[in-house]
Symmetry: C2
């Protein structure tokens, strides 16, 4: 396909751009296969705005004709109104809202049509990361930060009871797992294949965290397929027994309510019955996901955009969105997992239904709480790569649209955004303990939805392999670690601690992540200034006192 | 009166102290006329806790008898239960809650009784500031930071149309005003005396702010006493005309709703009718004060202490308290005043009924928004001294009790606390623009209710004069400016701007002041650590780069 067939009008002069935090400016608009480019003709420095079309979540068109009234309209009713001008309101996935006034209705409609089409292309090889070729980066060398093999090699003490299996090397045992996974040493590949058949989507239990202080682990999987007839799988039972080994018991944290996991049996799923998994104690924590979570985000963003200036209404809408309740549940469930592992010395299996959403959310947060190595800038990026990219969080499905899209919800769900919000809460409660900055969380929240990089493309490693993502695109995580970027994304106050960081989950302790949800308001600009000032001071200070930095 | 008559048991051994953010500790309790002193006998460093009795807002007693059940009881039912032990829960005006377990019921009741009596003494000369004699400070020298004379002298350009009047030198014209006030040059003292009779409590219009950029001013007063018969006062009309001089109009910001100011006529008060004050345009902004504000605080503090872990309930209680709505109204009304003066170039008269509460809140905030000189550490303290202490905010009445007291509300109202909250919102929105730290706001919020210093004693300058407060007590504002203290109470990121700082009053931009309302929760401790770290860095940096600091 040629992008040009979707572009009837590529350039328009004399448009007015209104974007948050800037005065309106007049200039030329240009649309390409992947970008919207605005050049300010009046500004001496000829400033430009480059917007990735993929970042556009929804657009609205309105036209002002010669009679001076404004109306929203659909494509059907456009005739010859050459004296009219139109306004396109662009709502971005990073929550920015931009308005563009375009002279001439025909041009306006052409531009709008191009944006609508090009921002919704869902063929991965046509996406911008496959075209992005920065002059200062090379496609050679390692793509990601780490592989399961490296992780296994670098985790001290793990080899005594765990091994690396390549049973999934052709992605046939579990399509959403990476080629290598870590499993109990005593369980052979044939057993794994049988267990995979007994787990939703083939996601058999694999190790995701080894707590080197006491040898306990976090294992994650999808639900067992016991179904209405309470089917058993001896291999599955044996695998889980091997996970706890000689210790007396383990905990299963099921991210569904007890009732939900019972109901799952009607559709072939289910839970681990006490009778068959006698060493495991099951705890249920209902976590919202899928459509409910997406709707929560939509309500929250709507509330944040409410301009009624009514305090009661705002607080009531904030409550009604339930977003902060989801944050609270995620952090407290992760705290529960960390308590089992770190305080009580038990291994934990985490799963819900598919094991690709809440499961990853909980295992990631629990690791951040317990493991100081996950809290450095590199460590955190490795954690995301391991637990989200490699572990098969379906980014393409979940992040296809954000809070503004009118498209019918398919598989969209802001689970990754919820993770970043929870990490932000940790970051705020422990301002010294995490090695990265809020800017990193904001960057990730943007890049997951629209990016120059290939890291968040596709749903699984298998898909990335098939499309050559690792050969043909750049890796975001590596880009973030380049010296200039590293400075922006590091926490200048970082003072590492070996202790677990137990978040307070009192509702009073959790806050709206204003840095993200109110990112485009002037108020936030001042907060960024303060961060900048601290950063400058510390840079200056580093030059003066090189021994410390 | 001797304090000792209220102290039956002065010392108790073997008590257990439970306070927020610390593990319980065992030691000895001692009660004196003004303090509760706890000494930890186990701790090698022999740590002590010294609590000003005046800081105690409410106490609860419960006794655990030999049967092991716990009961709340009143003084009436205490008999001989020597085997019992009692627990006193102390709720402080700074929102700290402390528990003390005391062996022996008799001792417990004696201590409780002493606390109740001594913490409620309302004779000013018996209060602690009259007994506080620190070795490193002297009672000689100037008491406050500035006088009305100094303010007048230091305000450039003011002398052309304004003069200092000592018509109130014996406090007979207006009991709640200081001895000197600033009035239009063309208005003589005899006229002022007549105007005072036409204004509630004698609070005739006086200048509180001169905007040197355009010569416009903020004037404040109490309501005019027009009453049901629409009484007029030619002198009052003349005075207000002199305020605007040759400019075309001024604005009256009435801190009551239009309906309230109409109703005030029934009790002798009222507003400036358009017919008599034709150059003035009146705007009404309803601001809650008195009992409604006190109840809002009580609800908010109750919500902050809710331990139900329910996010919806918390947000709903936060909304229900209306505290943030009061913050919003105060900031937006102050913004309106600043807009009139700075943007539109008009003088403003602010008043409500008495002119001692909301009026001062608004005039103070408007000055902070407009005037960079009010935003330094000294400037802010001078502003508070001028607009609250000298201008006659009745601290003794308003701050007698805080959110926990079961005493029937008399004249208590947290107007000054609301001011500090609003200043905190400004501070958070403009982290570089204010020269003081959050620690200063917290200090002031504590000291207004219970203090070693005399600054917040009494209701008026007249009372302070009569009791010799300025000769016999130390001044808080001066204490805060000593070198060591100055470091703690300064903003290390301060980068002054000459521009007005316009606060965002979108409900989304306003936040709960967690530093105060959740001050005693562990989470807040970490935030303090971060502040401390920034401060340390900047101190270190200052040593290395002395040219900048």
């Amino acid at each position: 396909m040629e992008f040009s067939e979707h572009i009837k009008t590529a350039n328009v002069e004399d448009v007015v751009l209104r974007q948050p935090l800037h005065p309106p400016s007049r200039g030329a608009l240009c649309i390409t296969g992947h970008h919207l480019l605005f050049s300010d003709r009046e500004d001496q420095s000829c400033s430009q705005v480059l917007l990735l079309l993929r970042n556009i979540d929804a657009i609205e068109k309105s036209v002002e004709n010669l009679l001076g009234y404004s109306s929203l309209f659909s494509f059907a009713d456009h005739g010859e109104r050459s004296g009219s001008s139109g306004t396109i309101t662009i709502k971005c996935k990073d929550l920015r809202v931009i308005q563009i006034d375009i002279p001439g209705m025909e041009q306006c409609l052409n531009i709008a049509h191009s944006i609508e089409t090009l921002s919704n292309l869902d063929s991965v090889p046509e996406m911008y990361p496959f075209f992005y070729r920065p002059s200062d980066q090379s496609l050679d060398g390692q793509w990601g930060l780490s592989t399961p093999e490296q992780f296994f090699r670098e985790t001290k003490g793990i080899t005594s009871v765990w091994r690396l299996s390549i049973v999934n090397r052709d992605y046939s045992v579990c399509p959403s797992y990476p080629a290598s996974v870590i499993v109990p040493k005593s369980i052979d590949d044939e057993t794994l294949k049988k267990v995979a058949k007994f787990r939703h989507g083939g996601r058999f239990p694999v190790l995701c965290y080894y707590h080197h202080k006491n040898g306990m682990v976090i294992v994650r999987s999808s639900q067992p397929l016991i179904g209405a007839n309470r089917k058993r799988c001896g291999e599955d039972e044996r695998l889980l027994q091997a996970v706890i080994g000689s210790s007396d018991k383990g905990f299963i944290i099921d991210t569904r309510s007890s009732q939900q996991s019972q109901q799952a049996r009607m559709t072939g799923g289910g839970f681990e019955p006490k009778s068959c998994y006698s060493s495991w104690r099951r705890l249920h924590r209902h976590m919202e996901k899928g459509k409910a979570l997406q709707e929560s985000l939509i309500k929250l963003v709507e509330a944040c955009g409410d301009e009624s200036h009514n305090m009661d209404r705002w607080l009531s809408k904030l409550e009604n969105s339930k977003w902060l309740s989801h944050v609270q549940t995620a952090l407290s469930t992760a705290g529960l997992v960390a308590e089992c592992v770190e305080r009580d010395g038990h291994s934990v299996l985490v799963h819900g239904s598919e094991g690709t959403d809440s499961t990853l959310l909980i295992s990631t947060l629990a690791q951040l709480i317990m493991d100081p190595r996950c809290r450095t800038l590199e460590g955190f990026l490795c954690l995301l790569e391991r637990e989200w990219v490699q572990a098969g969080h379906p980014f393409q499905h979940r992040c296809a649209h954000s809070a503004y899209s009118h498209a019918r919800l398919q598989q969209e769900s802001p689970v990754f955004l919820l993770l970043l919000d929870c990490v932000w809460q940790l970051w705020r409660q422990f301002p010294l303990a995490l090695g990265f900055s809020e800017a990193l969380l904001l960057k990730l929240a943007t890049e997951a939805y629209a990016s120059n990089y290939g890291s968040f493309l596709c749903n699984t490693e298998q898909e990335r392999y098939a499309l050559g993502v690792k050969e043909k695109t750049y890796c975001l995580f590596r880009a973030v670690l380049r010296p200039m970027e590293r400075e922006v994304y590091s926490n200048p106050l970082y003072d590492p601690t070996d202790l677990a960081i137990w978040p307070s989950v009192h509702p009073q302790s959790l806050q709206l992540w204003r840095g993200f949800f109110l990112r485009w308001t002037p108020q936030n600009r001042h907060l960024e200034e303060a961060q900048e000032e601290i950063r400058n001071m510390i840079t200056e200070w580093g030059k003066l006192a090189p021994s410390r930095c």
